[in-house]
Amino acid sequence: MTLDIQNVSKTFSGPRQGFFGRGESFSALDGVSLSIKKGASFGLVGESGSGKTTLTRCVLRLETLSAGSILYDGADIHKLTPLQMRRLRSRLQIVFQDPYASLDPRMTVHDIVAEPLVIHSDVVNLNAHQRTERVLELLLQVGLRSEHLFRYPHEFSGGQRQRIGIARALAVRPEFLILDEPTSALDVSVQADVLNLLHRLQQELGLTYFFISHDLGVIRYICDDVAVIYRGKLVEQGPVADIFDNPQSDYTRMLLNAMPDPDPDLSPFRKVEVG
């Protein structure tokens, strides 16, 4: 067992009202429990505002928890000392949703990908020359070329930028990757390439994925297990095939029905017209 989320709740306090008053607080996560096995791909599906991103922020300890605990390899993430947490962050990395916003426009690809190597120099311990070598190796691994090394983010397409984001996440050789909607900003054709890249990297490097998405098709394609989240609560979780072929909750069924299928014969509108 790699990541074990136990009964996690997160409440955001409401807006200030008057001098001492507080508006109604908002419960973003309510008793969420799930566990992710080493080497597996775990998908989390939900609509906007359902708490997906809050959960990833809790896992990275970018938010404090209101209740519950998150264990990584048996250690409670929220009870680690700052130094231990920094060490852990080199094993836990994240790829963000928006490849246009998550890369610093004033840094070259080399500096972007090398930055985690500098930050975690106590763990990876490379000199400047070795860092450049490592960055080159990473670029090739994610399907970019060596001549891209000293270019700036604006010179790349959305798909290429997401590859840079993936290279940066892989730089410190993490075991666990959080993928927060990594393909939602990309064209379908580019999405296919990035998904295949993620699949290949997982096989080569033995990574564990925590894959957040609102696209059920993508989750079904890339994940082994899936959890459905609705308004901060897990509605359902289990192996992908079970949840998709035999959903137990009404919400999951509704989500599956709402997913537009690229087969025109399965359109609900056309069925009406024929029948």
Partner: protein, 295 residues
């Protein structure tokens, strides 16, 4: 008469690097009652085709090299600015992708809807259910009534109360409904929807698609639905045009094009969407694929 007839449309845009041709001979015919899905990757010219129909591309940087866009028999590209203003909102409705940036945050929803209704009503009072020569106050009253009716129609609960809310009090899906209401208020004959559901959740997307479908059934309008989501096109469109780098590679009834694609690019695009049967690692991207382009 054909509702919209785009013939051999060639558009070039000027940038720092000089003039680049963006659209290479687009041909497209839309009849009433048809929903045309236009699919393609980023930069393929889908949106510029849509914008051209209501002539919203400023010139410069845009320049039409050749072609015509006939809307109900009149060439939009040759119309005067005054004619275009009468056409936009009244005969051609538009919905844009991002509902947050297309509503003014400083004005109430009602104010913005009434503005559109008054604009349509001043050209043709029958839109507001009035006869010609109606007074200003009658127009205003009728415009507000139509605005409430329209909000109600697109499924905003308690429309009479919510019409005085500001855009930030609405969720993304509701804002998109407001934009659809705004586009439909002038009872247009043609609706151009540029990625109307891209910013929305699947469940809300399904509702919006149903709304567009019902509007077509009810009012017999034509729709140009621009999207990169093949699923959306397959669900709601009657016809589809596949674009690549400013050209339409394949067009026709949705069942023919998506079920039996003739063009290898269409096939590849379809293969890049994960379906229930796709096994992991089998998904095919378009890396390096150059489609056949018939000149």
């Amino acid at each position: 008469m054909t509702l919209l007839d785009i013939k051999n449309l060639n558009l070039a845009m000027t940038s720092y690097e000089g003039e680049t041709q963006i659209l290479h001979g687009i041909d497209l015919k839309i009849e009433r009652g048809e929903i045309w899905g236009m699919v393609g990757e980023t930069g393929s010219g889908k949106s510029l085709t849509g914008l051209s129909v209501s002539r919203l591309i400023p010139s410069p940087p845009g320049r039409y090299l050749a072609g015509s866009i006939e809307f109900q028999g009149r060439d939009v590209l040759k119309a005067t600015d005054k004619d275009m203003r009468a056409l936009r909102g009244r005969h051609i409705g538009m919905i844009f992708q991002d509902p947050t940036t297309n509503l003014n945050p400083a004005f109430r929803i009602g104010t913005q809807l009434v503005d559109v209704a008054l604009h349509a009503g001043s050209a043709d009072p029958s839109v507001l259910g009035l006869v010609k020569g109606a007074s200003r106050s009658e127009l205003k009253k009728a415009a507000r009534r139509v605005a409430v009716d329209m909000l109600d129609k697109v499924g905003i609960p308690k429309a009479t109360e919510r019409i005085d809310d500001y855009p930030h009090q609405f969720s993304g899906g509701m804002r998109q409904r407001v934009l659809i209401a705004m586009a439909m208020i002038g009872k247009p004959d043609l609706l151009i929807a540029d990625e109307p559901t891209t910013a929305l959740d699947v469940s809300v997307q399904a509702q919006i698609l149903r709304l567009i479908h019902d509007l077509v059934q009810e009012r017999n309008i034509g729709v140009l639905l621009i999207t990169h989501n093949l699923g959306v096109v397959a669900q709601v469109s009657s016809h589809v045009a596949v674009m690549y780098r400013g050209r339409i590679l394949e067009a026709g009834p949705v069942g023919d094009v998506l079920k039996r694609p003739k063009n290898s690019y269409t096939q590849a695009l379809l293969n890049s969407v994960p379906t229930t049967h796709t096994k992991r690692g089998e998904l095919k991207g378009l890396n390096g694929l150059v489609p056949e382009v018939s000149a």
